[in-house]
Amino acid sequence: MLPTDRIRSASLERSLLGRDASIFEGGRAGPVCFPVSTEEVQGCVDAARRHNRAVVPRGAGTGLAGGAVPLEEPLVVVTTKMNRLLSVDADRRMAWVQPGMINLDLSRATAPYGLHFAPDPSSQQVCSLGGNVGTNAGGPHCLAHGVTSAHVLAVEVVLTSGEAVVLGESDGWAPGLDLRGAYVGSEGMMGITTAIAVRLTPDPPAVQTLLLAFDSVDSAAQTVSAVIADGIVPAAIEMMDNNIIRAVEEFVGAGFPTDAAAVVIVEVDGLPGGVAAEADRVAELALGLGGSVRRAADDNERALLWKGRKSAFGAIARIKPNYYLHDTVVPRTRLAEVMKQVYEIVEEHELQVMNVFHAGDGNLHPMLLFDRREPGIMPRVHAAGAAIIEASLAVGGVLSGEHGIGMEKRDFMPLMFSEADLDAQARLRRAFDPEEMANPGKVLPTGASCADVNALDKVPEGVWG
């Protein structure tokens, strides 16, 4: 078991770990453990079992769907002290890491080999790789390279039985069912990740980043579709609307045009000749649709543009102290239409919204801005959120692109899945965790028949704040 200085029970710490970066407040941790090895995680799980408590894994606490919010005082296993790079095999372009390692630290550590970890969530400077596995995280550069699942070769998992198993194969494809594939994105409900074999991606020989500015959201969205329809698969296509442009520009001073209705950041990478040709073509398409084009002159300018994009969600307090960040995905061709609806919904509920998102794969991130202290605001926030989700699903979209379901979208699951679908997912989960001891109360609605889709009150009292 763990030495006592890595087990905490002080009231303050249990309440600090009661939340992550999502809208949820009011969770409360039971005992908090900071293991440093697989064996210690096994010890934590055994202790939880002996004391009949659930176990909830937690990395950096930057999740946006409440996945790490502890319900009913479970034992919380924090992986931040398991942050070592275990081994790097540059020839095979892979590494074994512990789950608490920070995403960006991995890419920094492998930079001398000319390799990096491709999934780059906006929170990559702080989020943990274990959390990336849990949510099957995406990021701007996942458009061309694929999300986390495509970059995880194998995972070592401590199951709720206390047994440690390796799913997948770090040096090739594992025989049999793809249990690794089932595990990545399971949001802590199938066990606790204790080591990850990650695939590393060679740094591109050339990169060009373009900042396209438009005087309407519509023409920005059309440009995104036009680029993809042209056969170009940029490394990233990101869109920001006027509200967010102004907030981030105040922070980074990257020269974002604060009078533009929307900007699109397009990054193309690859061999120098191809990159130049693709960048020219993207610029041509943007100009044809009424946009203006600025090309990042050097790495500093490029870094500044990305800093603006990636810090967007944290810049909110310049306008309001609370945000509710959504994560629906819609078909790319319906982007403009759904965004228009989002603006209408927000207006109807008298809220403010900012849009910043992965336009290339249609992954919307409307952020509702509000001040929790304002009386009667929370029902409006939830009603607007529900309407945005419904509008996205109505055009053939899905609930979550990359943040996960967690608690946030749990009760919307029946909008997407039939009872039989949900039951199949519950049975898959129970194959790993028969007693539903790992991160209970997340992702899957309670009870087999969840017809009541509006039942936000099923989330434990107080959690919605």
Partner: protein, 387 residues
């Protein structure tokens, strides 16, 4: 649960954190512990627990607050611009009112009296030589037995000399003075009234004492000449007198304050040529937190040095070294864990010499065996003073 304690924090400032967590990797105590209570986001949540929800000011809360280095590395990292330093200073001020026994309450008073500090320093220097104090464990440098006398040379600029730095590292002031004079500028020195800038008191929550020191310092540096500071911590404090004292005079005073490298960078052409290029040795530039995160004026140091030496930057994004004024003495374990990371970053550069524009960092790093110089000491040795 105890009675509700107000920490006296401005409610709007306290509400301004959205808990996104982007500050976490920029916090030295979170970096070495991985624990939420030791992060800026966690500390703000803890302040809210106390001020907004009536949680007790208990040992866990005190430890969360007192382990903060107040490096303010979280501020430039925060997309929402949360004024963390101000939240922490307000909290420390409320806590200080409850801590009558704190040695800092009387200890820091010494810093305001030059003669007393000088007397105590000389005594300490003698006792050190008799090997009667464990200097390293206390985080102390070897204090000189005798100090050279600095003389004013004109009235173009002031050189702020401060308290501990003047008593323990006056040779640095002397080097800085020679470099500034080499540009042709004449230097005024503050009279006996000026001593401590008040930074240490402010960080310990002793706001009134800090304010009194600020007013005295302002009185000793009159006129309109620029005030040059060669200690990043003092420079940051002087630049924030506008907020601390809250008068238009104080704000005008703060606008005159410059880190000496900020002043020097546009005047490099006026310096004489290089006599000795000490620069075969590679110099790693350590950015003091209060220069980089608070004054946001760390670039001129490398700019000035690059002319006289081969300069390399550290790759740790300006993460604190753990010195933090009196922090290394108050929280020795955390301070040395934090320093370990800095030592690794220094080692990765392969540099033999580290340049630091803050005396606290210099002492803290030198205690770990690193060769640390003030940037202008390196410049002073390199330039041809006769040329």
């Amino acid at each position: 649960m105890s009675a509700k304690v107000s920490l006296g924090i401005d409610p709007e400032e306290l509400a301004s954190c959205v808990s996104c967590g982007l500050c976490l990797p920029h916090c030295p105590t979170f970096r070495v512990t991985g624990e939420e209570w030791a992060s800026p986001r966690g500390r703000i949540s803890a302040m809210r627990e106390v001020q907004d929800h009536g949680a007790a000011v208990d040992a866990a809360f005190l430890s969360s607050m007192d382990t903060c280095v107040q490096c303010r590395g979280c501020e430039p990292a925060c997309p929402s611009g949360v004024p963390f330093g101000s939240l922490m200073e307000a909290t420390q001020a409320s806590l200080a009112r409850r801590r009558w026994g704190d040695w800092r309450r009387w200890g820091f008073r010494v810093l305001g009296h030059r003669w007393l500090l000088s007397l105590l320093s000389r005594t300490l220097a003698i006792v050190q030589r008799m090997r009667l104090v464990p200097s390293k464990r206390l985080g102390l440098p070897l204090i000189p037995l005798a100090q050279e006398r600095l003389r004013a040379s004109g009235d173009d600029v002031w050189l702020f000399t401060g308290c501990v730095m003047d008593a323990w590292q006056r040779s640095t002031h002397a080097a800085v003075k020679r470099v500034v004079e080499a540009t042709g500028a004449g230097i005024s020195l503050p009279g006996a009234g000026a001593g401590c800038c008040g930074a240490l008191s402010l960080h310990a929550g002793l706001e009134n004492h800090a304010r009194a020191l600020a007013i005295r310092t302002m009185g000793a540096l009159e006129g309109s000449a620029p005030i040059l500071v060669d200690s990043a911590g003092c420079g940051a404090a002087l630049k924030e007198y506008g907020e601390l004292v809250g008068t238009p005079e104080a704000a005008a005073f703060s606008r005159r304050v410059m880190d000496v490298h900020e002043w020097l960078a546009p005047r490099l052409e006026e310096l004489p040529g290089v006599a000795v290029r000490s620069s075969d040795a590679v110099v790693a530039v350590h950015d003091p937190c209060h220069l980089r995160h608070v004054q946001r004026a760390h670039h001129p140091v490398a700019e000035v040095l690059a002319r006289f030496a081969t300069v390399v930057a550290l790759d740790d994004e300006g993460l604190c070294c753990g010195a933090g004024g009196a922090y290394a003495a108050m929280q020795p374990e955390l301070a040395s864990s934090i320093r370990e990371r800095k030592l690794e970053a220094i080692e990765r550069t392969g540099a033999q010499i580290v340049a630091s524009a803050n005396p606290g960092c210099t002492i803290h790093l030198a205690n770990a065996g690193v060769v640390v110089r003030h940037p202008l000491e390196i410049v002073d040795e390199a330039i041809d003073h006769d040329g």
